[in-house]
């Protein structure tokens, strides 16, 4: 692998991590002011803020890498230009993160799937030779531990709750399960970083344990899995979200307040 392609792979990988955190944060922030009860409104808003902070660290690192490379189409880059001025096809977030927030059951299940995956990924990422990625992972892992705990408790509470909450969780599983496969299928730029396929067994085990306590059934591993987000092929949901997220900086470049 030439120095150029490996540097490009590292940039793409860092952007992938940043984008997943940013889109997850943006989607979850839609609950701000709309949470089912005040404490949970505050909880999900705090979690969004944690994810936004992680995204900022990854974007800052990616911007530095881009600016150091001889020629890069995104140069000159800042954390803001990477979040606000890239088009939909340049985003490398997991499809799971961009799906509509749905009801509380769907939001909870999405956070559960995602935070268990993030905790396994960051646990490994904190030991990679790249010191910057390792440091961001170690820092983020402390926050993700709380996200795993919070979402696990809610999965149990809703799954093993009323007939209606149980039914809503079943619907959420049906909706979201086909988007979980993408987490464990490596994109080209993941070569040499953490191989996501090696996280799959651990993820299934944690999901299975919590589902068992929540009296929820596991889905089949053989259902069709949607992929594409990691390489910029998104569902129609991302464009609408970016339109809202990026509008101000696109319409009034460099606006500050």
């Amino acid at each position: 692998m030439s120095a150029h392609t490996s540097n490009q792979a590292l940039i793409d990988y860092t952007l992938h991590l940043a984008d997943s955190s940013l889109i997850m944060a943006q989607r979850s922030s839609e609950w701000c002011g709309h949470g089912p009860v005040l404490e949970q409104d505050i909880a999900i808003t705090n979690i969004s803020l944690d994810l936004l902070g992680q995204a900022r660290h990854f974007y800052q690192y990616a911007a530095g890498l881009i600016n150091q490379s001889a020629d890069h189409t995104l140069k000159p880059a800042t954390e803001d230009s990477l979040a606000y001025l890239r088009d939909e096809r340049a985003f490398k977030n997991l499809l799971l993160t961009e799906l509509p927030k749905g009801d509380w059951a769907q939001t909870i299940l999405k956070h559960f799937f995602f935070s268990v995956y993030q905790s396994l990924l960051y646990t490994r990422l904190q030991t990679v030779p790249d010191k910057d990625l390792a440091a961001i992972a170690a820092k983020s892992l402390k926050e993700v531990a709380y996200h795993v705990k919070w979402s696990s408790e809610w999965v149990i509470r809703l799954g093993d709750g009323t007939a209606e909450s149980h039914q809503r969780m079943l619907t959420a599983i049906e909706e979201l399960w086909p988007y979980t496969g993408e987490m464990f299928r490596a994109a080209d730029y993941e070569t040499g970083m953490v191989d996501p396929s090696t996280l799959h067994a651990g993820w299934l085990k944690e999901v299975q344990d919590v589902f068992a306590e929540a009296t929820l059934p596991m889905s089949s591993e053989s259902v069709y899995m949607h992929v594409g987000g990691k390489t910029g092929l998104h569902t129609e949901n991302l464009g609408y979200m970016l339109a809202e997220l990026q509008y101000l900086q696109r319409a009034y470049p460099g606006a500050e307040w």
Binding site: Q40, I42, A43, N46, G53
Partner: protein, 173 residues
């Protein structure tokens, strides 16, 4: 990871003076705590008339960090320093274990329960909810967790079962 580095030591007299300035800079969200109480100052270097301060963020998304950095700069300018550089490092990640005893006392007096456990222990307890948190108002240990997430990223919401007061708990990190 070197365990000793959490308390920066062996300061030059010039660096000591900078530390005295930093002891006056407070956290915008918890104004009773200074940046030195919080343990977020990692390093102070003074050379050739230049001051370099290295800080580490508490939480990734803590909106107070940018402001803390500005406030440190302003305090140093006010103290007569002109060439100031502020660096941010993530490694090693900040932990509530770095909060000073004095900082914990101030938090308690302010009505926020300080971190009760060391992080080594809290990781193990994460799924058990048996952290012993003392009510900052009546000192009862008969308290319960209302929500893991409180008014800011660093706090959880508790309630005292004896005096009934809800209160913030600065959670372990």
């Amino acid at each position: 990871m070197n365990q000793d580095i959490h308390i920066p030591t062996s300061q030059s007299p010039q660096a000591e003076k900078v530390w005295e300035v930093l002891k006056q800079v407070t956290d915008p969200e918890i104004p009773v705590l200074t940046v030195t109480d919080m343990g977020i100052i990692r390093k102070v270097d003074v050379h050739d008339g230049m001051v370099e301060v290295t800080i580490t963020p508490t939480y990734s998304g803590c909106p107070a960090m940018d402001m803390i950095s500005v406030n440190i700069r302003l305090a140093l300018i006010e103290a007569g320093y002109r060439e100031i550089r502020i660096h941010t490092v993530l490694d090693p990640a900040w932990t509530t274990d770095w909060m000073t005893e004095e900082g914990k006392q101030k938090l308690r007096a302010y009505g926020i329960a300080p971190p009760a456990e060391t992080t080594a222990r809290s990781r193990k307890l994460l799924f058990d909810d048996v952290v012993d948190v003392e009510c900052p108002r009546c000192q009862s240990h008969n308290t319960r967790l209302l929500s893991q997430f409180g008014s800011t990223a660093c706090k959880a919401l508790y309630q005292c079962n004896d005096c009934k007061e809800p209160f913030d708990y600065f959670k372990c990190h």
